[in-house]
């Protein structure tokens, strides 16, 4: 009997511990959001965190389609971008009429716009799933983007619609002129949206979305219309994408044609997929990492897109469930008494460290070679000296043999040394697994 009760989720848990388990994660998230600007306090860090918050909402809204409902969209930026324009117009209207609406409520306009366009375009595109849906989303994306350059009065031509966020009604004395105030605005909306989107996964509709993803045909035979499930999911996805777009417009005080473009749609796809679409946290991780990489990588190398592409392909080839998938693989070791968990993870990560050293050498060797080739071919005018990854300290002379030999040795030697560590990692993994199973039993 005890087996049975364990296997079936209980209807309601009311103890303190259970309560904390349910709400604890959100309390922790709130604290992290509150203190983050004190830890990463530079202007650029705060700007970056603002973009992360926007991207988290956007990527999660995308995952309502791809991860939850199995709809691959190439045009999700349409809802993000149109909402951004709606927001910019709304702000200008509020400024013009002096309506008593403070800035923190403006994202509601974005949400409404996202929902509206989600309903309109969802009605035509969610009739079918699979590749047909993907192609329709691509076509709609191109249509809206092209229209943005024709319908100038709404899209403001290529320069877009700008608005001054400080000219709205003050909100408890804040005018949102400084970036930090905008950060807290974004953080609050981000947290709210994440909680809502998480809650939606745990509703009848959320579960039916999963069912539609798995087997839309069978869904028809348990009383649900899979098209309507997709439609609602799509509209809700549009709503949250709208909030994200709205926050983006508030953040840079501008809505511009590129907001609805294919690059923006591609970015959210990359973020969601790299983070992993199978888990709720995946797109959050992906949004953080993709935002960070796209802002930071270009500081180190001109050919950052190449590295980004290679990283993306590596993830598709070797970690198809994304970064969150890699993390979740470790969940199975998280059992038994705390001390044994720590010991188990200690051993496992020890083996990773052993593997990481040659892997790092291999990667550095590869990067050195790529950078040197790029320097020779494209930067010959700057002379033979190359600042490796724009570092002022580490320079190499590309016209001498040493760095080339060093790069090749690091690449090949690193690879073989790395291969030799695989059995070590495999053994550590198996040991940990056996250990975890023992303590689980």
């Amino acid at each position: 009997m005890s087996e049975t009760t364990k296997a079936i989720p209980m209807a309601s848990e009311t103890s303190m511990a259970a309560r904390f388990k349910r709400y604890g994660i959100w309390i922790v998230a709130t604290i992290i959001l509150l203190v983050a600007p004190y830890i990463f306090s530079s202007g650029a860090s705060i700007t970056t965190m603002c973009l992360m918050g926007i991207m988290i909402v956007f990527a999660l809204s995308y995952n309502m389609l791809l991860g939850q409902t199995g709809m691959l969209s190439f045009g999700h930026a349409v809802y993000y971008g149109l909402a951004a324009f709606a927001t910019a117009h709304m702000m200008n209207w509020v400024i013009k009429t002096g309506a008593p609406i403070p800035l923190p409520l403006i994202p509601l306009a974005g949400a409404a716009a996202g929902l509206f366009f989600g309903i309109v375009f969802g009605a035509v595109s969610t009739k079918r799933g699979g590749t047909a849906f993907a192609m329709i989303s691509l076509g709609l994306g191109e249509l809206v983007y092209s229209s943005s350059l024709i319908l100038r009065s709404f899209f403001g031509g290529e320069e877009g619609i700008s608005a001054d966020r400080t000219k709205l009604l003050r909100f408890f004395g804040y005018n949102f002129g400084s970036q930090i105030q905008v950060y807290y605005l974004i953080a609050a909306w981000c947290l709210l949206c994440v909680i809502l989107m998480y809650a939606i996964t745990r509703t009848p509709l959320g579960r039916m979305c999963n069912a539609v993803r798995e087997n839309p045909e069978r869904v028809e035979f348990v009383g649900y219309n899979p098209q309507f499930v997709r439609f609602i999911a799509f509209a809700l996805g549009g709503l949250f994408a709208g909030v994200a777009g709205s926050l983006a417009a508030i953040n840079i005080e501008l809505a511009q044609a590129s907001f609805v473009g294919a690059a923006q749609s591609g970015a959210v796809l990359l973020a969601a997929y790299m983070g992993g679409v199978a888990f709720f946290v995946g797109p959050i991780l992906g949004a953080i990492i993709v935002t960070l990489l796209s802002i930071k990588l270009s500081d180190f190398s001109e050919i950052w897109v190449l590295y980004f592409g290679i990283l993306f392909i590596t993830i598709i080839l070797f970690a198809p469930y994304g970064l969150s998938g890699l993390l979740m693989m470790h969940a199975q070791f998280w059992r038994g008494p705390l001390s044994s968990r720590i010991a188990r993870f200690g051993k496992l990560f020890g083996s990773y460290l052993v593997a990481a050293i040659p892997a790092l050498i291999m990667i550095l060797g590869a990067i050195l070679l790529i950078e040197m080739i790029h320097h020779i071919v494209q930067k010959s005018a700057e002379g033979p000296m190359m600042h490796f990854l724009r570092s002022s300290r580490f320079t190499v002379n590309t016209h001498t043999a040493l760095p080339w030999v060093g790069g090749i040795v690091a690449l090949i030697g690193g690879f073989f040394a790395f291969r030799m560590t695989w059995p070590v990692v495999a053994k550590a993994w198996n040991n940990a697994l056996a250990d975890a199973q023992r303590s689980g039993a």
Binding site: L254, S298, M329, W429
Partner: protein, 423 residues
């Protein structure tokens, strides 16, 4: 068993993430007190427009090397720091923010009016909200008149002639070209293209009312593969000349399609001199048919600038695309010297109404009403180089010869700017 492969590669992923995290966590050094004056170059360095951004960067690197060789500014060296705006408005702002965070207080940018407006508005708001930490924006190529009219800012300075001035220059040149009788306008379908179109209509009416405009067309920006259908329309209209603001592949493809169809008309262009343009004209074999307007060309008979050009080509293998860039940086250095400070608030006051001997010779001045630089303009035509012309373009054996010079007073268009001067 299912996880076998990822398991082995988990190491690499973990290592990569660790390394990445470590690398990114490195503290950013701030350069407020350093011995160089840094200038952030915020332009596309990846993506479809990377070629243009890259060329500009090399131009500026060389310009600054030359200035530094002569002692830099206020005893400090000037350095250009590239920031990739990825042709995206949001990213542009982020990169400007990053630059400011690194202690950089001079921003330069040129590609794309949309981004220029974004930077100008950002910088203006930033300076308003952060007195004492002012940042200045030097615009070397974004030409929408709006930047020195409705949306002008004290913190924005433009060295390129704006669309209106360029059109004024073209039409000033057309005053004496009486063989031009039927004009066709073809432009890209976005703000800049529309600007060119509307201004062409306006200025032709004023200066050459006898010219008949036989066609007025806009085509989608950077989406057309084959211009043959457009050429067919131009041909059907009986035009003898074309005015176009096209740039990039839209320019190259237009010229090529014209040559393919055997269309022999004059092209009065803004950007035939841009990257890829000369190659296309040469391929199309349209000798002495394609005109470009600009503030300077390699073959202008001026010793100093030719020496400069020669050295740049020897070193980087490309031509000086931005003579205005030289003006911009030289004026910046001189303003810093005069102000004896690299604080933007101080040297901006010097730049505000500065007079300057421009790169190709002749007098130019910064108009204090709108911070638009006024300079002599040239019309040049592309064809096989003559004996006295030292420079060809893109290794085609063809080069620009000067067809006409337009005095600054011809391009002194009025401005509606009401500038807010900081106290």
């Amino acid at each position: 068993m299912k996880w076998q492969l990822p398991k082995k590669l988990l190491g690499v992923a973990a290592a990569g993430m660790l390394a990445g995290a470590g690398y990114l966590a490195l503290p950013q050094k701030t350069e407020a007190q350093s011995a160089t004056i840094k200038i952030a170059y915020v332009d596309p360095l990846s993506g479809p427009m990377a070629g243009i951004g890259d060329t500009g960067l090399k131009n500026f690197q060389f310009i600054l090397e030359q200035i530094n060789a002569k002692g830099g500014a206020n005893g400090k060296k000037l350095e250009i720091v590239p920031f990739d705006n990825k042709l995206n408005a949001q990213e542009t702002i982020v990169q400007v923010q990053k630059a400011i965070d690194q202690g950089i207080r001079i921003i330069t940018q040129g590609n794309g009016t949309a981004f220029a407006i974004a930077i100008s508005e950002f910088v203006t708001k930033y300076n308003e909200r952060n007195p004492g930490k002012e940042v200045v924006y030097l615009n070397y190529a974004a030409v929408d008149p709006i930047l020195t009219n409705e949306k002008c800012s004290y913190w924005h300075f433009r060295w390129d002639a704006n669309t209106e001035q360029k059109m004024a220059a073209i039409t000033a040149f057309l005053k004496d070209k009486k063989d031009v009788k039927k004009m066709y306008l073809i432009n890209q379908d976005y703000a800049f293209g529309h600007g060119v179109r509307d201004l062409a209509v306006k200025f032709l009416k004023e200066r050459r009312p006898d010219i008949e405009i036989v066609g007025n067309e806009v085509h989608p920006l950077a989406k057309v593969t084959d211009f043959a259908p457009y050429i067919a329309k131009i041909k059907a209209s009986g035009a003898d000349s074309v005015i176009t603001g096209n740039w990039g592949s839209d320019m190259a493809l237009l010229i090529k399609a014209a040559a393919d169809a055997g269309l022999q008309v004059n092209f009065f262009t803004f950007y035939a001199g841009g990257t890829g343009g000369p190659t296309a004209v040469k391929q199309a074999n349209l000798a002495n048919r394609v005109y470009a307007v600009g503030e300077g060309f390699a073959n202008i008979d001026h010793k100093e600038s030719q020496a400069f050009e020669k050295e740049l080509r020897a070193k980087y293998g490309l031509s000086l695309f931005y003579p205005r860039g030289v003006n911009q940086m030289r004026m910046l250095a001189e303003a810093i010297n005069k102000a004896k400070s690299d604080d933007p608030k101080k040297f901006a006051a010097v730049l505000h109404d500065m007079k300057f001997e421009v790169f190709n010779g002749g007098q130019g001045f910064m108009r204090p009403d709108d911070h638009q630089f006024m300079q002599p303009m040239y019309m040049a035509v592309f064809g096989p180089i003559k004996a006295d012309q030292p420079f060809d373009e893109e290794k085609t054996g063809w080069g620009w010869s000067i067809a006409g010079k337009v005095d600054p007073k011809e391009t002194l268009v009025p401005t509606t700017c009401k500038m807010n001067k900081p106290s």
